[in-house]
Chain length 196, copies 2
DNA sequence: TTGTCAAGCGGAACAACGTTCCGTATCTTT
DNA sequence: AAAGATACGGAACGTTGTTCCGCTTGACAA
């Protein structure tokens, strides 16, 4: 889990030099297109931006999901690592949970269309969904358990449900000035609180 | 606004007999396919089920959104009308709001893919979104204002945000046994409550 | 330096979708 | 019964994701 083998195949070692260069170029182009047109931008647009053929994309990233994972891996990693840190530095577990969820929401809301694609019923995005779950669910579980253990929240809500709910609330937030996903999420987290 | 001119053109009077018959057949076929395959089922499937060509669908329903609206109009109407009734019959406005939202959630969750399509960035679904907003937002506003007036909920949340949030929470609920949209929505409504 | 060849590349080609178009069939009216 | 308006079917178009294959090119041995 240190280097890279999930989304992009061997990323540093081995293989031809031009291939490695192209992979780099593709990641940059994809990141740039994702910002400009959202995560659901046509593959052809990314290929054009990178100056390569579509075949090259599929050589490096067997599916769109793998490309998206590769582009955002660092940020997801950072989010995952922030969990334990917040738990250590915050006043209460519930506060840590709230702050961590804010991180998660900020991440989703600033990546146009990512939350939506996470919930797409297109099966080719299953691996994207799985990646998020695999990486972030344990972190969320830890925070949730801590808060539950401290008696701050009502028990019984699974971390999976919370994450799905939060992710859902972020869908489309970037296109709609009249909708503040952060506020809704805050309300949800508030509703989680133990009446006392 | 009494009869029908929004989604389906003139629905009862005028025009040829076979056209009227086809429109009926189409609504039945669409309803049936929506149940079986979800709201995003291919237009060709609906045409096949109805035994007509795709052109016929577009003659009657200029866009997919219009077809969806026509299929669900009755239920949306019922939901809208339930608002004031609940307000009159419930113990408190907040209770009425909660029950009304439950109705809305039940409606969305049982229509495969409807919540998702409501949030699709495909512009051809804008009119579907608008229809829901036009018809249900005033009802939600009334309930929300009543609850706010009674001091039961913290003020400042727009009805639009609430509806969007609830709609979002319902996305994908039908495919995922591990996710209970109703529970999340209940948590959200709970979070809305005035702290004291 | 040059020859060889697997690795990699570009983009044509395919399938699935929403939507449009128009020649043909059918209903309605006179 | 004939004429005209109306509606129908489905081929055709544009846009997607994805696959495939002939050609190019980098790497390495001689």
């Amino acid at each position: 889990m240190n280097d890279g083998d999930k989304g992009a195949g061997p990323s540093a070692r081995s293989k031809r030099a031009d291939a490695r260069r192209n992979q780099e170029t593709l990641l940059d182009a994809a990141a740039s297109v994702f910002v400009a047109s959202g995560v659901e931008a046509p593959v052809r647009d990314i290929a054009a931006k990178a100056g390569v053929g579509v075949g090259t994309i599929y050589r490096h990233f067997p599916t769109r999901a793998d490309l998206i994972i590769a582009v955002y891996r660092h940020q997801v990693e950072a989010c995952a690592e922030a969990g334990p840190a917040l738990l250590a530095s915050s006043a209460t577990p519930h506060a840590a949970l709230g702050q961590w969820i804010n991180l998660f929401v900020d991440f989703l809301v600033t990546k146009h269309g990512l939350a939506a694609v996470l919930r797409s019923d297109n099966t080719s995005f299953d691996t994207l969904h799985s990646y998020f779950i695999d990486r972030l669910l344990p972190v969320c579980t830890q925070l949730l358990d801590a808060a539950a253990g401290a008696g701050e929240i009502r028990p019984g809500l699974k971390a999976y449900e919370l994450m799905r709910g939060v992710g859902n609330l972020c869908i489309g937030a970037e296109h709609d000035p009249g909708y503040d996903a952060r506020r809704l999420v805050a309300l949800l987290v508030e509703g989680l609180r133990q009446p006392r």
